[in-house]
């Protein structure tokens, strides 16, 4: 049973929004459904500056607060630790949106249900190449893989760069950041 996770290296993120556009194309999402949101931090004083763009998306937490509060069981931790939202059960009460400290869940205006990053990189159903955020990123800032496999690219990268979740131990996040 794998334990999928992602590494995002903000030192390589130039804020070009390709990942969110590719995610919308890959998963056929509404224009208003953006599974990735961005925070931008400007530090330093003119003219020595640094601008950091931080992509944020579902962290697929192992102790997912969204799954804990979801009354209908729509938000649940599925196979391989991927937090999923069963669109057939979701009533759109938005409790999970409140409970998620990363604020990365969005309402599908058409169906009234809530959805979020589905780690679609793992489930290329038609067995072909993916245009998910990981493959689409032009600077290769994202790595996806099995955290339980020590030889996987992501495990090695996390060890090498000492990547940390964005908000420390706020939740057992499975997305690690190099900043």
């Amino acid at each position: 049973m794998a334990r999928y996770g992602m590494l995002i290296n903000t030192k390589k993120c130039v804020g070009c929004y390709t990942c969110v556009a590719a995610c919308q194309r890959q998963n056929n999402l509404l224009p208003s459904e953006q599974f990735i949101r961005f925070e931008e931090r400007e530090t330093g004083v003119y003219p020595t500056l640094n601008v950091e763009t931080i992509p944020l998306q579902c962290m697929h937490c192992e102790d997912a607060p969204c799954a804990a509060v979801c009354p209908t069981g729509a938000a649940h931790i599925g196979t391989d630790g991927i937090v999923q939202v069963d669109q057939g059960r979701c009533i759109g009460c938005k409790y999970c949106m409140a409970a998620c400290p990363y604020q990365v869940r969005v309402v599908n205006e058409e169906t009234g249900t809530v959805d979020k990053c589905r780690f679609c990189t793992v489930s290329a159903n038609d067995g072909t190449a993916m245009c998910s955020c990981v493959e689409a990123c032009p600077t290769g800032a994202r790595i996806f893989g099995d955290l339980d496999d020590p030889d996987s690219e992501i495990s090695k990268a996390i060890a090498e760069t000492n990547a940390q979740p964005i908000a420390g131990d706020l939740t057992k996040s499975k997305v690690f950041y190099v900043r």
């Binding site: 925070e39 931008e40 931090r41 950091e52 931080i54 944020l56 607060p65 804990a68 509060v69 979801c70 009354p71 209908t72 069981g73 729509a74 057939g88 059960r89 979701c90 009533i91 759109g92 009460c93 938005k94 409790y95 949106m97 409140a98 409970a99 998620c100 400290p101 990363y102 604020q103 309402v107 169906t111 009234g112 249900t113 809530v114 964005i166 908000a167 706020l170």
Partner: protein
Amino acid sequence: MQFEPIWGVPIALYLFLAGLGGGAFIASAFVHWKNPDAEVTRKAGHFIAPVVVAVGLVLLMLDAQGGFHNPLRFALLLHNLGSVMTWGVIFLAAFEVIALIAAILEIVKRAVPLWLEAAGSIFGVCVGAYTGCLLGVVKTFPLWNNAILPVLFLVSAISTGIAAVILASLIAAPKEAEELDELKGFHYWMPVVELVLVVAMLFIVNSAGDAAHASVASLLSGAWAPAFWLGFIVIGLVGPTLVETYLQRAKGANERALGIGSEAGVLIGGYLLRMMIVMAALPITLTVAWL
């Protein structure tokens, strides 16, 4: 980053009405016990409780778009016993059933058995407190995530419930209203307790990180300051307390009008409290402060 509140007026109204329903039932049970002859007041309480809770539930369903499109899914609400909302649904269902039975009994002029009044009151407390817990368990919003909120919401629930009942009796049966001294006695202290709770809560929350501080600031000095100071504090708490103190000494001529005014104030304050807590809360800052 601009933050759009997740829940809006419908949910704030739902939390307010659920609490008020619970409080109204408790008030009418109390009246039943302490002032058996205040028929109209008791009936009012027993009618208000189920109606306002029903209205609240409808608002909840309207806001939950997914469920609204396919209503069968609401049955799934009982799936996750770990979720406060599931418990809320259970309490609300139980309370609504009891309140309806009580209301029907009133209509057919049969006495509402005391055990039913007691059960209804217990569930009334649960409903009042659950609304606070619903928000309280959410770590994302420091303004919610503290132990005082459920107590504050419960006190406000009972206070607004009593206010509604007294308001009804002032309007429908002014003579009965004069006899409700014990009820008014309790009711007199509630806004004071609420004020203490709010001050304590905001004081503690204010120190819990910059999202917390920003939320409190937006209440005290930011966009919500008018609603907070004028609406909640003055009209909702201080105003009614002053009026009640005045009424206790001088049974003035326009005692009824002042009473109605103060009870209405409590109701307005109760709603504003829910609206502000729901909509002024700002989420934990990951890297950039939410404006």
